[in-house]
């Protein structure tokens, strides 16, 4: 299944229309719907990964989706290490993806 947003017209649940919102992700505008988490907005825009691991820069996005694994963390409005899957998106949120390179160890 694609990570894209399921079209409302094909949704048998027949949800009410949602208000649109947009957030900024690394300076680019991404559109979403009110009620989505930041991870929901990102997944809805077709994006699966937005963080890189420290050890080898491997891509990371939603792994558990329920707040346990901390794989999906992003910076939101200046606050680091926010779980994208737990933080509801608000119109105008400034989201910056995180990548912390491994430190050089001093001997």
């Amino acid at each position: 299944m694609s990570p894209g947003l399921f079209p409302r017209s094909e949704d048998g649940i027949r949800p009410a229309a949602s208000d649109a919102l947009s957030i900024s992700v690394d300076g680019k505008t991404v559109d979403g719907l009110a009620g989505q988490t930041i991870a929901g907005v990102l997944l809805g825009s077709g994006r699966l990964a937005w963080r890189k691991t420290s050890s080898d820069g491997s891509p990371r996005g939603v792994f558990c989706g329920i707040g346990v694994c901390f794989d999906c963390i992003v910076e939101v409005n200046g606050i680091r290490d926010v779980r994208a899957c737990q933080r509801r998106a608000r119109d105008g949120d400034q989201v910056i993806s995180q990548h912390d390179p491994l430190p050089e160890v001093t001997e």
Partner: protein, 396 residues
């Protein structure tokens, strides 16, 4: 089929022994009641430390083991190829600090005794310590740097040793529980009874970590090894601000203590992924693995004495496991003087990851009749400090 050696326990000690024994040409069978690295080996931090040991037999074993790890890491990597994950051997170094005025002098004196036996223990002034660890508390009163302290990813290291053992011909069978000994007419152990049938073997080596007490009892030759519980807290990911293993000097006291009640002492380090591990506790509560908030509270509070910035950190989870505790704080390595055919490699408390390679060297040398690189006499089961614990256990 008869094995030359049946090893009970597929943790890191059993794995290291299996590898060396198989490489010296013996037919080796490893049994484990659970999975490989399913017990203590996967429930700690993968420490290879010299810093926490005072002069004596265990430090000598740790120093020898420390010298073996880089070569073994290279051998495993060459032997298993690029598709096998790295064991992540990392000589990251340990920084031991005192956090009180009264703690400074004993820490400095302890390091002096270690230097006399060849440990690289460098006394730092506070400014030098803060160069190594810029976020450390400005209230520390003494600091010793141990460049030899290292770690591995213990689960990968165990699996790598097992894989290497298999390549040398060893067989590893998991999910099989040893329930007793097979004995001959003379009372010698000539195999094990398991829930999957009897298995004959010229020698049986117990390397079951904290379960070695139970296993050895079931074999009719009990060894006084008890489980001692240890807990570790894990923070969420953050920017790397801790660069070595950093611990409070009173860790040494907690590890070498025999007190059954809760002992905690700060050991703080960060992982490559950005989480921070906060240990450590010691508790004798049998195999009770229930979460105890009191333990976690103490760990968290003491960590702040080292790194005040952790007050802002969020905790993601905690984990813990059982360390094989010996009443005289030394592992048991070698043959059982009471029963022919029985051997032990157990009781390494929280140091088994590091000590595994040196332990395996002793076992392999003794089983193949060569001389170990290290004096193994202090680890014999018939040492005087264990006599009173063995007195009640007459072999069946």
């Amino acid at each position: 089929m008869t094995s030359d050696v049946v090893i009970v326990g597929a943790g890191i000690v059993g794995a290291a022994c299996a590898r060396l024994l198989a490489r010296s040409g013996l037919r080796v069978l490893v049994l484990d009641q659970g999975a490989g690295a399913g017990g203590t080996s996967s429930h700690g931090e993968g420490n290879i430390l010299v810093s926490d040991k005072g002069p004596g037999a265990e430090l000598a074993l740790a120093q020898h083991a420390s010298s073996l790890w880089p070569g073994t890491a290279d051998e495993l990597s060459n032997e298993l190829g690029a598709n096998f994950p790295s064991i992540e051997f990392d000589r990251k170094g340990g920084l031991v600090v005192a956090t009180t005025d009264t703690g400074a002098a004993p820490l400095i004196a302890f390091a002096e005794t270690q230097r006399e036996v060849g440990v690289d223990a460098r006394m730092l002034d506070i400014a030098e310590a803060r160069e190594l660890e810029p976020s450390i508390s400005d209230t520390i009163t003494a600091a010793i740097f141990y460049p030899e302290d290292a770690q591995v990813q213990p689960v990968i290291a165990t699996e790598a040793l097992l894989a290497s053992a298999r390549l040398a011909g060893a067989d590893v069978r998991t999910g099989i529980r040893v329930t007793g000994a097979v004995r001959n007419g003379a009372g010698d152990i000539v195999g094990v009874r398991t829930d999957a049938g009897d298995i004959s073997a010229a020698a049986v080596l117990v390397a079951a970590g904290p379960w070695s007490g139970e296993v050895s009892r079931s074999l009719g030759a009990a060894v006084p090894i008890l489980p001692r519980r240890g807990m570790v807290l894990v923070t969420t990911r953050m920017t790397h601000r801790i660069f070595h293993k950093v611990y409070d000097g009173d860790y040494v006291g907690a590890v070498s203590s025999s007190d059954a009640d809760l002992q905690t002492s700060s050991v703080v380090e960060s992982t490559a992924s950005g989480t921070v591990l906060i240990g450590s506790s010691r508790q004798q509560v049998g195999f009770d693995d229930r979460l105890q908030v009191r333990v976690l509270q103490e760990l968290a509070a003491k960590a702040l004495r080292l790194f005040p910035f952790l007050a802002e950190a969020s905790l993601m989870r905690s984990y813990g496991g059982f360390r094989p505790y010996m009443p005289d704080h030394l592992p048991v390595i070698g043959r059982d003087h009471r029963v022919e055919g029985l051997w032990h490699a157990s009781g390494h408390e929280g140091a088994g990851i590091g000590l595994s390679l040196a332990t395996a060297e002793i076992i392999a040398a003794q089983m193949t009749g060569t001389k170990p690189a290290l004096d193994a006499a202090p680890f014999r089961l018939d040492r005087p400090t264990l006599a009173r614990y063995l007195a009640e256990d007459v072999p069946a």
